[in-house]
């Protein structure tokens, strides 16, 4: 045993010494370790401290439990073991709240119905009140709260561009739907938020969440608040490795079909877990396989890290990706589109010319944001080629202030017209 690793603060053999003496595992080299301990004050001090810690822990945490405490703890087992038909306090409160919310929603709808169409109670077309929802139980949006509007379309489908999901047949979203599961949407919401609902295990929740996403994608009635919570739950589950990342595709489909505040919420959620989408893109956007939903998701979120991969491998699906990026339409998505363009433009002159027209059509009307994006790109890049391409893009898009910014920054003079 040498003392080469010894420093004034740490010897380097403390762990071995402690393992030999404190854990009672001397091993073959006990005499050697003992000899080291004799001449090393650092190890002796470490051993003394480790012994003191163990002694303090053992003395502090010796817990004697009297029978009353044990009885109380075990009573919880009995309570949990009762059949689910016996409502526990929490479940009862939940159900009570649920019924109250449903009752309140029905009263509000009745009042609204009578107020908005005074002469139509006897009209058969106005006989099925519909609750348009975009939030908690009981809220309604003007676009779908008119009974006559929705009753004219017997099987309304959810259209992208509408925040609210129309509810066919006048069913209330918060109401119990026994054909889908034994649990109400309110119970699902409570479970997704981390509350305990007896008998509602993770697998049942996962199945319900999958059903919810499929219903939303198919245009059936779902609560957008529930969709957001379910997406959050699934993202966290995938991040923790509790479920495969492919499960995200269902939530992704809902995102791709959404607009307005629901899309905004879902995009924000997915961006919090962007690494999962990157991982998905790396596995599902390859040379021999391109998953259009993943490509669309990448565009909707504006995941710049995989822009080159998408540009090189997605082929015609790039259009879908770009369309989704423009639907989200924020600065990050525009930056993603710039990356898509640059990636194509760097490949060949022909691709550059082709993509230039494509890009110009795509982003028309987003000048101010695009100018910021290009400025930012110019500020960050060190590649002369990218600078030239950005400059050309800015000029073709009619964003002279971007060029001015760059030339002013570099102390150069604007180029001669037509040289770009």
């Amino acid at each position: 045993m040498t003392d080469e690793s010894r420093t004034p603060e740490r010897c380097g053999f403390e762990d071995r010494v402690i393992a030999s003496f404190l854990d009672g595992e001397p091993g073959q080299d006990l005499p050697e370790v003992a000899a080291h301990l004799d001449r090393c004050p650092l190890c002796a001090d470490a051993l003394r401290k480790a012994r003191a810690i163990d002694a303090v822990l053992a003395a502090q945490t010796r817990t004697d439990v009297d029978d009353s405490v044990a009885d109380r703890l075990l009573a919880g087992v009995d309570e949990a073991a009762r059949p689910p038909s016996v409502p526990r306090r929490r479940a009862a409160a939940l159900v009570r709240r649920g019924w109250l919310a449903v009752a309140a929603a029905l009263i509000a709808l009745t009042v609204a119905y009578r107020w908005m169409s005074p002469g139509s109670p006897g009209d058969p077309e106005a006989g099925s009140p519909v609750a348009g929802r975009n939030g908690p139980v009981g809220s309604s949006s003007p676009s779908t709260s008119s009974p006559s509007t929705s009753s004219r379309s017997p099987s309304p489908s959810w259209e992208p561009g509408h925040d609210a999901f129309p509810v066919p047949g006048g069913s209330s979203v918060g109401a119990r739907q026994p054909e889908r599961s034994d649990f109400t949407d309110l119970e699902l919401l409570a479970r997704l938020k981390g509350d305990r609902v007896p008998g509602f295990n993770r697998k049942a929740v996962a199945d319900r969440v999958q059903e919810l996403f499929e219903s939303a994608s198919a245009g059936k009635s779902v609560d957008s608040g529930l969709v957001v919570e379910a997406t959050r739950w699934q993202l966290v589950g995938v991040r923790r490795g509790l479920m495969p990342s492919g499960r995200l595709l269902a939530a992704g489909r809902v995102l791709l079909g959404s607009r307005g505040s629901l899309r905004h919420d879902l995009v924000a959620l997915f961006r919090e877990h962007e690494n999962l989408v990157r991982r998905l893109a790396r596995s599902r956007v390859g040379r021999d396989r391109v998953d259009p939903e993943v490509v669309g998701l990448v565009g909707a979120l504006g995941v710049r890290a995989v822009a080159t991969r998408v540009s090189e491998r997605a082929g015609p699906q790039v259009d879908l990706c770009a369309e989704q990026a423009m639907r989200t339409g924020d600065r990050r998505c525009l930056a993603f589109l710039v990356e898509l363009y640059l990636s194509a433009a760097r490949r060949s002159d022909e691709a550059r010319r082709e993509r230039m027209a494509w890009f110009k059509d795509l982003v028309s009307g987003s000048d101010a944001t695009l100018a910021h994006v290009l400025k930012d790109k110019l500020r960050r890049t060190r590649s002369q080629e990218i600078r030239t391409l950005c400059e050309e893009l800015a000029e073709r898009l009619g964003l002279p202030e971007t060029c001015a910014f760059w030339f002013a920054r570099d102390g150069g003079s604007p180029p001669e017209p037509g040289t770009l």
């Binding site: 403390e14 762990d15 402690i18 393992a19 854990d23 470490a46 003394r48 401290k49 480790a50 003191a52 810690i53 163990d54 303090v56 822990l57 053992a58 003395a59 502090q60 945490t61 010796r62 817990t63 004697d64 439990v65 405490v69 044990a70 109380r72 703890l73 075990l74 919880g76 087992v77 009995d78 949990a80 073991a81 981390g194 966290v236």
Partner: protein, 194 residues
């Protein structure tokens, strides 16, 4: 099926718990479950308080007991019953999102530690010891859950590394490293106070 049952019986015989009790508890006998769990209650509560804090230690343990009772029919006897139930407690404690125990209300003061269990002859020494205990507890709370649990089971319960590894579902080597690292961190944090 007969072969499977005999294998299970063999495994359970290797554990410290009597086979008939375990078998009865697996069939849903509540009294048998009680008799299995009660002797472990002190150890379980100590670890639960270590993982969940003094406020929610009991709630954490109760949740673990409920899950153990529910999952007992699936207990395969790969490890001892106490390792198995400690494993449940550890998993609950290491994933706060799985379990959210009640938090103290605003203004509610935690009395544990403020009121001494018994009066010592030398109040000065008592204060010093209590102060040290508090510091050790605070340093323990800052350890990662796996290291905290491993050190607790080693230093307080005196378990061997193999059994700790079985409870934490990890290797023996990883358990040794966890205990070693926990001790090193505590030494560094407590410094000359020891």
């Amino acid at each position: 099926m007969a072969v499977m049952n005999s294998t299970l019986e063999y495994r359970m015989n290797q554990t410290r718990e009597p086979w008939p009790l375990l078998e009865a508890a697996r069939r849903g006998d509540r009294q048998a479950f009680d008799r299995l769990v009660r002797p472990l209650m002190g150890n379980l509560l100590a670890l639960a308080r270590r993982l969940g804090g003094p406020h929610s230690g009991e709630d954490l343990l109760q949740e673990a007991l409920i899950r153990a009772h529910r999952g007992l029919p699936e207990f395969r006897g790969d490890c001892s019953f106490r390792s198995w139930i400690i494993g449940i407690l550890f998993r609950l404690g290491s994933e706060p999102n799985r379990y959210r125990g009640p938090r103290p209300l605003p203004g509610q003061v935690e009395l544990n530690g403020l009121i001494p269990d018994r009066l010592e002859a030398d109040p000065g020494e008592q204060v010093t010891t209590r102060d040290l205990l508090k510091r050790v507890e605070a340093a323990m709370e800052r350890l990662p859950v796996r290291q905290r649990t491993a050190l607790h089971l080693r230093a307080v319960e005196g378990w061997d590394y193999g059994e700790i590894a079985a409870a934490l579902e990890t290797s023996e080597g990883a358990t040794r490293n966890a205990v070693m690292e926990a001790r090193r961190r505590l030494r560094d944090r407590l410094g000359d106070e020891l």
